[in-house]
Subunit: 427 residues, 2 copies
């Protein structure tokens, strides 16, 4: 909150707030009142430290915002990079001098076209996506894709395989029953979704058209560390909750799809990356909005896309590139994950993570307390310390810390310190 008032020239004061670099103000004194009129001041005011406080209760001044930000461990929608939010805020009313908010722009105007084209180009750069693949910005979440995948890729009588490592894979399988003959070739359900099978052991259906996986199960915290090569058909992955958290060899996949609201943006945008030769075979009953061909031919502009959400994704992509790309992002995620899993493993059983160590998610860390009666207290105390949304999914209970790309290391450090303190008080 400390601001500096600096005499930057004989007729100019600079009001500088280190938290608000783009709100620095040059105060140009009128000739009649320039600093030469104040000889005593001229010498003394050069770096006068002053306190700066907003005069009205709402909205909160931005300096207060910075202090009051919580660490948000929600599974999605989830925390976004502070820089990205600040940029979005600064541009919200008037994007790049266009005289409009991004929310007001025609999706066919040159301004929005530049936004969506840059978003696509940056995503292609991040994931090294070749021109053999189309990149689509759609609506409806991964749940819509659960239907779109079989509707676009196969015929109703076709066999398709599902490896079910958690609730989301199971939902995808069930939806596919409406449009194909799906088979669950492996399920982790009997072991409460804590494992991923060895790929060699998988027996695929001989004429299966695709193998579907959920790359990271948000609820159960189970993450594929490498990917199977299907013996039959293509590999299709729901990457909603680990999309852009690490490098991925896109060429191994027929289709990758992801809701944006974990790592790359707000809810309301779904990204589909699909090999172009797979496009154009939709079943006759496919709603036009679920037909990849329609969207690919129209560069995601067949109907009005979720423009502001796409813009936000673009800001995040830009930020990820500025961080050095996904290799660097993965390093940071590993560091955060190690810190948290080590704290759990070194707690002598006070905290427990049920997931097999080899497939623990770097994005969603589920854990329980040995003394389960303390879990509500844990969540409540953490919230008081401004660490929120640590409650596990209602279907599994316990706690869950979602530590996506935008969760700062400081957030995990604070959580770990809190966990140690809580243990010391309750062990």
């Amino acid at each position: 909150m400390a601001s500096k008032l600096i005499l930057s020239s004989p007729n100019s004061l600079l009001l500088q707030n280190p938290n608000l670099q783009h709100h620095n103000h040059h105060l140009l004194l009128k000739p009649a009142t320039n600093m030469a009129s104040f000889p005593n001041l001229t010498n003394k005011v050069k770096a006068l430290t002053i306190k700066c406080a907003a005069t009205t209760a709402t909205p909160l001044s931005q300096s207060q915002d910075l202090e009051e930000r919580v660490f948000n461990f929600a599974a999605g929608p989830a925390t976004l990079p502070e820089k990205v939010l600040k940029k979005a805020q600064s541009e919200l009313y008037n994007w790049h001098g266009s005289g409009m908010s991004v929310m007001e722009m025609s999706h066919r105007g040159k301004e929005f076209l530049s936004i969506i084209q840059k978003a696509e180009a940056d995503l292609r750069a991040l994931l090294n996506i070749s021109e053999d693949y189309a990149v689509l910005f759609l609506q409806g979440g991964a749940t819509t894709q659960f239907a779109a995948i079989p509707l676009n890729l196969v015929k109703p009588e076709d066999s398709v395989d599902y490896v079910v490592t958690g609730s989301w894979g199971d939902k995808a399988f069930k939806e596919a029953q409406k449009y194909s003959k799906p088979k669950v070739i492996w399920s982790g359900k009997s072991e409460k979704y804590t494992k991923i099978p060895s790929f060699d052991s998988l027996e695929q259906t001989p004429d299966s058209k695709y193998l579907h996986i959920c790359a990271n199960e948000t609820i159960h915290g189970v993450e594929f560390k490498d990917y199977p090569d299907p013996k039959n058909g293509i590999l299709v992955a729901d990457m909603s909750s680990n999309f852009c958290s690490k490098p991925v060899d896109v060429s191994k996949f027929g289709v990758i799809y992801a809701g944006a609201q974990k790592n790359v943006g707000p809810s309301g945008v779904t990204i589909v990356i699909i090999r172009k030769d797979l496009i154009g075979n939709a079943q006759g009953i496919t709603p036009v909005m679920l037909d990849y061909k329609i969207h690919a031919e129209n560069n995601s502009l067949y109907n009005t896309p979720p423009c502001f959400g796409i813009y936000m994704c673009g800001l995040v992509f830009d930020d990820l590139l500025a961080q050095g790309g996904l290799k660097e992002v993965e390093k940071k995620n590993k560091k955060k994950g190690d810190l948290l899993y080590n704290a759990i493993d070194e707690s002598k059983g006070f905290y427990r993570c049920p997931v097999d160590k080899s497939v623990r998610s770097l994005m969603n860390v589920p854990f329980t307390l040995e003394k389960s009666e303390l879990e509500a207290e844990f969540i409540k105390e953490a919230a008081k310390e401004k660490m929120i949304q640590l409650k596990g999914h209602r279907s599994v209970g316990g706690m869950r810390a979602s530590i996506y790309n935008a969760m700062p290391l400081a957030g995990v450090e604070k959580l770990v310190a809190f966990m140690k303190d809580f243990q010391a008080r309750h062990a």
Copy 2:
């Protein structure tokens, strides 16, 4: 841009910018440097007018924003109320002291629940929607509803009727062919979509399950002024482009649906208002995300909804209520529409609107120039005057001024003045 630096107490300066009330700063001087140390200054600085300029090129200061705003006549996404944008901007980084952006909130957290519940309550108040109707906040635009309507309401062999008064009604009819036996019982195509039939003349299919209309055709500027009572089945309306522009008797309809991006928010939100007894009959092939029952049972939270878009709609609903509700809004829209249509009709044929006077849209005003070779020049000159997106839809050409709720009267006045000036120079 002029700010004032006011000596508000012996140890406090107030930096006041009239354009930026919530950026007023109290500058609290440290004891060692309080104003008593500057006797010369104490007398002279009481109301020192100073200039205040941001030190970095981006973001634009908010006072610059106000000066540079354009009048945006885009058909959607479209102009939003300035107040709403300012509020969204001020809250973007930290919503109501929650320490989070709305974009970061769990859709199941108490903060977002309060947002979506208020949005629904305010919409119910605006349109006087009874408890017999469900209000759903969905994704995918009206185009997704073109499929969802027949999928949810009828069986594949059922007859349904479509009155086609423009391109959107035609698209709805075509999509319905996948899931029902639709019949176009009237089409305005041969007259280039400039009319709406008298309802008495409509011959409905005897066993038709519903009658579908597009309440306002965005491209052709044709708007229903009252609504038919179907002899058979229920009335279903796509109200995307005149939703909340005037009062509507919801009880006349089985289903009303609307993309938000014309009158009530950004793109990415679709609102469905459906009589509850019609819910629960979806065809077996209906994707789960297109099944009204799923969304109604889960209060639009079956999967992650487009949270920020819903929040923006809520701000708009709040603003519409604050304006006095839809009767007041309709008065303003009539005034704007009359002004523009009168300018066209009084131009002695220099400007022409092809639409039958009785059904001219108050939202989308298409017009042409008698000298069609001047149209490009008209659009270009208007854009220079900061009136943008006046080009007609690529399928019909000419000009189109979309003057939704949020287009200020001043925007229409400026357009009309420009039209008269343009005519004077080119007649």
